[in-house]
């Protein structure tokens, strides 16, 4: 296969990722959102202090992530003994129960991808703030964007609630120390994905190559 790098870039227009319609890039004021004219797909937004806010939420998230992993989320007391549940113990016990594939899925979606998202976002945003990029910035951000849907901590949170209610009848469920940190972690991850504006990061990277 022949590879070609000699492409010229069009920065005054944008194509919709869902319907490929070519349209002018609008100048947005703060708080505005750009949507595709034809299919109404969300294109990008202009958010106030997007980089600073996202960085703050990512750093908060990382600290909360570490705390969430240190102590049990839930404990179950029955028959005179207590059983603890931490984030990582879910995949460990699935592995011990002869379900290695399932354990890997749970490990990646609840432990590895959330960690890479937080660490990677902090790394990228610091680079954006200092306006210095290296060869790894774009591939790393690409990786973060494509693994974004695979970090499933908020779904794990819902599963914790379901498990709590299910077991509440049978045994005594004790809230662990980490549960509070975990709830706040979900909040910061949600705020992070809300405040992060990938379009801004890509525009900065694009400016580097068009100059």
């Amino acid at each position: 296969m022949e590879q070609s790098n000699q492409t010229s870039v069009n920065i005054s227009q944008i194509a919709c990722h869902d319907c490929d319609l070519l349209q002018k890039v609008p100048q947005l004021r703060v708080g505005q959102t750009a949507n595709c004219l034809r299919c109404n797909a969300f294109l990008f937004k202009n958010q106030k202090n997007s980089v600073d806010r996202s960085l703050a939420f990512a750093i908060t998230g990382l600290i909360l992530y570490i705390i969430s992993n240190m102590f049990p989320l839930l404990s179950l007391r029955a028959l005179g003994t207590t059983q603890d549940e931490t984030l990582i113990s879910t995949s460990i016990s699935l592995f011990k129960a002869d379900m290695p594939l399932l354990s890997i899925v749970v490990l990646f979606t609840t432990v590895i991808f959330p960690a890479t998202t937080l660490l990677g976002t902090i790394f990228i945003l610091i680079q954006v703030k200092r306006d210095t990029f290296n060869d790894y910035t774009a591939p790393l951000f690409r990786f973060l964007r494509s693994t974004d849907t695979w970090g499933m901590l908020e779904i794990f949170m819902l599963a914790l609630l379901v498990a709590m209610v299910k077991l509440g009848d049978v045994a005594e469920v004790i809230f662990g120390t980490s549960l509070y940190a975990f709830c706040l972690l979900i909040l910061s991850l949600t705020m992070l994905s809300h405040s992060l504006n990938p379009h801004d990061v890509w525009s900065k990277l694009r400016r580097d190559i068009t100059q």
Binding site: N5, P26, R29
Partner: protein
């Protein structure tokens, strides 16, 4: 806001551009490039760029069919076995929901029903209908079909909730022989169905829905802007 009625909708492909899947950089395809033979690299993020996702239809069908096949063991094999005093009670997805209903836990039963039965089935059906509509070159309501696609893409991951519940129960209910929970093969098949449909949704290219309509959309070629409800931010921006 109604866009002004002008000529026809021009897509990036019509204008000889390729939009990068990741960073949406618009690259001009160099003249004389045979897109089937050569591989173009996005100058911004260095990923391979394509005008349409390659082999989208074949890949989506392959993943969908695999998911449909695995959907059978996911529902017939037990997802977990709850053993109390040596007395094991295997549960499938459906029997789990029925047990919750019998126990009077209606909200929970509804949640599990929606996440583990309703969403996966709906997702399989919607993706199949979208594929058939694209292959038969249907012109029916492209906006609505694109919206359906976005819904399936967004909602699919929530089906994983049942897999996580099993994981949590397995790690919490470990009291030796008196009470324990062991995962069943059904849970693995179910996780595979969820993951395969997520990949299938990603392999599908919604632009194929629009490719059959070359003309009739009304377009003034500046993207729509929506103003947030409060304009406070605007005012702050023009601070002296």
């Amino acid at each position: 806001m109604t866009p002004a009625i002008t000529a026809k909708a021009i897509t990036a492909r019509d204008a000889g551009f390729i939009s990068c899947h990741f960073c949406s950089t618009l690259s001009k395809v160099p003249k004389g490039t045979n897109l089937k033979k050569s591989e173009l690299i996005c100058p911004c993020c260095k990923s391979t760029i394509h005008s349409r996702k390659p082999n989208s239809i074949n890949r989506t069908w392959a993943l969908l069919i695999a998911a449909i096949i695995l959907y059978i063991p996911a529902n017939t094999l037990p997802i977990m076995t709850f053993t109390l005093w040596g007395d094991g009670q295997p549960d499938t997805i459906i029997s789990g929901v029925i047990h919750l209903m019998d126990g009077g836990m209606w909200p929970l039963a509804l949640l599990i029903f929606v996440a583990s039965i309703f969403i996966p089935v709906l997702k399989l059906i919607i993706l199949m209908l979208l594929m058939i509509s694209v292959q038969t070159k249907a012109r029916w309501k492209p906006q609505d079909r694109t919206a359906l696609y976005r819904v399936t893409e967004f909602v699919g991951r929530w089906s994983m909730v049942d897999v996580f519940v099993i994981g949590i129960l397995v790690s919490l209910v470990q009291f030796g022989n008196s009470a324990n929970v062991t995962p069943g093969l059904g849970s693995l098949s179910f996780a595979a169905v969820v993951i395969l449909t997520m990949f299938a949704a990603r392999a599908f290219d919604p632009r194929l829905i629009w490719d059959v309509l070359e003309t009739e959309t009304n377009v003034d070629n500046t993207a729509n802007t929506k103003t947030a409800l409060s304009n406070e931010d605007d005012k702050q921006m023009v601070k002296p």
